[in-house]
Amino acid sequence: MVFLIIVIAVVVLLAIYLILAYNGLIRRRNQIENAWSQIDVQLKRRLDLIPNLVETVKGYAAHERETLDRVIQARNAAMQAPSDPHAQAAADNALTGALKSVFALGEAYPDLKANQNFLQLQEELTATEGRVAYARQFYNDSVLDYNNKLQQVPTMYFARILKFERREYFEADEAARTTPQISF
C-alpha cells in the first residue's frame, strides 16, 4: 500500500516536472519566433522611411543623383533579398553604407542640414538602425536562453525525444564585422 502511494507520488511529480519543462521550452521557442519576426518588422520600417528621405534630399541637392540612386538601388535590392539571414544581412549592409553617404550630404548643404524634415528622418533612421541591432541582440539572447535550457541535463533527455532542435545564432557576416569605409 505504502509502496503504491510512493510510486503514484513519484509518477505525479515526474508528470508535473515534464509539463513544466515542456512548457518552458515552448515558451522559449516562441520567444525566438517572435524575436525573429521583430527583426523583419524593423528592417521593413527602415525601408519604408527611405523614399521620404530621398524626396527631401532631392529638394536641396538634386544634382547628387549618383548618391541618391545608390540608396534607391540598395533599397530595392534589400526589398527583393531572399528571406535567408545571410542574404538579408548583406543587402542591409549595402543599404547602411549608401545611407551614410546621404547623411554626409548634410555637411555639404547647410540648408539641407537645417531642414527639420531631414533632421527628423535622420533621427528616425538612426533609431531604426539601432532597433534592428537590438532586435538581433534580443534574438540571440532568446536563442542562448533556449539552447541553454535544451542542453542542460534533465531537459536534454526528453527534449531529444520530443524533437526540440538546437537553434542557430544570427551572425553578422564578414562585411558587417569590418567597419564600413566611407569616402567623401
Partner: protein, 301 residues
C-alpha cells in the same frame, strides 16, 4: 535573474505585511493614548489595508503625480521615444509609458507594479544635458529596474512609508487633544498606564522603522540595474559618461521628495555634501551608493 525577480516579489509581500503589522501596532498605541481602545487597532488596520490595496494599483500614478510628471508628447520627444522603443526590443519588455518632469536637474526614475503597467519619467534637464548614448544608458538602467521588478518594491515603499508617517503624525497630534495625559479624564485612580508609555515610544520609533524599510530597498539594486543596463546596450561607456555628468551636476532635483528619493537614478537630495543636522541624517539613510563607486564598478566591465 529569475531568482532576483522572485526575491523582489517576496520582498513586496514582506513589505506590505510588515506595513500592516507596524500600522496595527501604531493603531494600538494610538488607541491607548487617544482613548479609542481597541478601535484604534481596527481603524489603523482598515486604513493600512486600504492604503496597501491602493498602493498596489495606483502607486505608480501617485509617484508620478508627486514628482509632477506629465506624459511626454511623442512628436516633441521623438528621440526619447525612439530610445525607449529600441531598448524595449532588446530586452523583450512591453513598452512602458513615458513621462517628462520639468526640472533642470538631470535625473530619471521608473515606477509601476509590473512590466505591463510601468512608466519611465525623465527630467527635462536630463534630456538637455545628455547625448544620445548617455541617454540610452540611463533609459536602459530604468528598464532594468522594470525587468527586475525593483519598481514594485520601491513604488510600494513610496506610499507605505508615507502612510506610516501620516498615521504616527496624526496620532501624536491627537494625543495632545487629550491634554498630553496617558489616560482619559474619567479614569479612576491615578495609576499610570504602562502600555501608554510603550505606545508613546512606538509612535516615535515607527517613522524610523518606515525609513529603514525604505533603506532596505537596498543600494545593491542600483548597482545591479547599472550592470543589467550595460547588458542591454552592450556599451558601458554610455552609462559611465552619463553617471559622470550626473556626478558633476550639482543641481538639486526639486521634483523629488523624501518619499520618492530612492526611485531616482541619482540621489536627488543634496545630502551628500551637507553640513549640519540634516546632513548626517541623509548620509545615514542614503538611498544610493556613491556615484564614484558605481562608475568605478562599470569601468571594470
Amino acid at each position: 535573474m529569475f531568482e532576483l525577480i522572485r526575491s523582489n516579489k517576496r520582498r513586496s509581500v514582506a513589505l506590505v505585511a510588515s506595513f500592516v503589522v507596524v500600522a496595527g501596532i501604531v493603531g494600538l498605541a494610538a488607541g491607548y493614548l487617544v482613548g479609542f481602545g481597541w478601535w484604534g487597532i481596527a481603524i489603523a488596520i482598515v486604513i493600512a489595508g486600504v492604503t496597501a490595496f491602493i498602493s498596489y494599483w495606483k502607486a505608480d500614478a501617485i509617484a508620478l503625480a508627486v514628482s509632477r510628471a506629465h506624459p511626454a508628447d511623442p512628436q516633441q520627444y521623438r528621440r526619447l521615444y525612439n530610445l525607449v522603443e529600441g531598448l524595449c526590443i532588446a530586452s523583450g519588455l512591453p513598452q512602458p509609458r513615458v513621462y517628462v518632469v520639468d526640472d533642470p536637474a538631470p535625473n530619471a526614475f521608473a515606477t509601476g507594479r509590473n512590466p505591463q503597467n510601468a512608466a519611465i519619467a525623465v527630467t527635462t534637464g536630463l534630456l538637455d544635458k545628455l547625448n544620445r548614448v548617455e541617454l540610452e544608458g540611463v533609459i536602459a538602467h530604468e528598464l532594468a529596474h522594470i525587468k527586475n521588478y525593483d519598481i514594485l518594491v520601491s513604488t510600494l515603499a513610496v506610499t507605505l512609508v508615507g502612510a506610516v508617517a501620516l498615521i504616527t503624525d496624526m496620532s501624536i497630534r491627537m494625543m495632545w487633544w487629550n491634554g498630553g495625559r496617558s489616560r482619559r479624564d474619567g479614569d479612576q485612580g491615578d495609576h499610570g498606564n504602562p502600555l501608554a508609555i510603550l505606545g508613546f515610544a512606538l509612535l516615535i520609533v515607527a517613522p524610523i522603522v518606515a525609513k529603514a524599510m525604505q533603506a532596505a530597498i537596498s543600494r545593491k539594486r542600483e548597482t545591479l540595474a547599472d550592470i543589467s543596463a550595460c547588458q542591454l546596450t552592450r556599451y558601458p561607456p554610455g552609462l559611465i559618461s552619463a553617471l559622470e555628468k550626473l556626478r558633476d551636476d550639482v543641481t538639486v532635483t526639486h521634483s523629488a521628495t523624501t518619499a520618492t528619493a530612492h526611485l531616482w537614478i541619482e540621489q536627488p537630495m543634496s545630502g551628500v555634501g551637507d553640513q549640519g543636522r540634516l546632513g548626517s541624517m541623509h548620509r545615514l539613510f542614503d538611498t544610493h551608493p556613491p556615484l564614484e563607486e558605481r562608475i568605478a564598478l562599470l569601468k571594470e566591465l
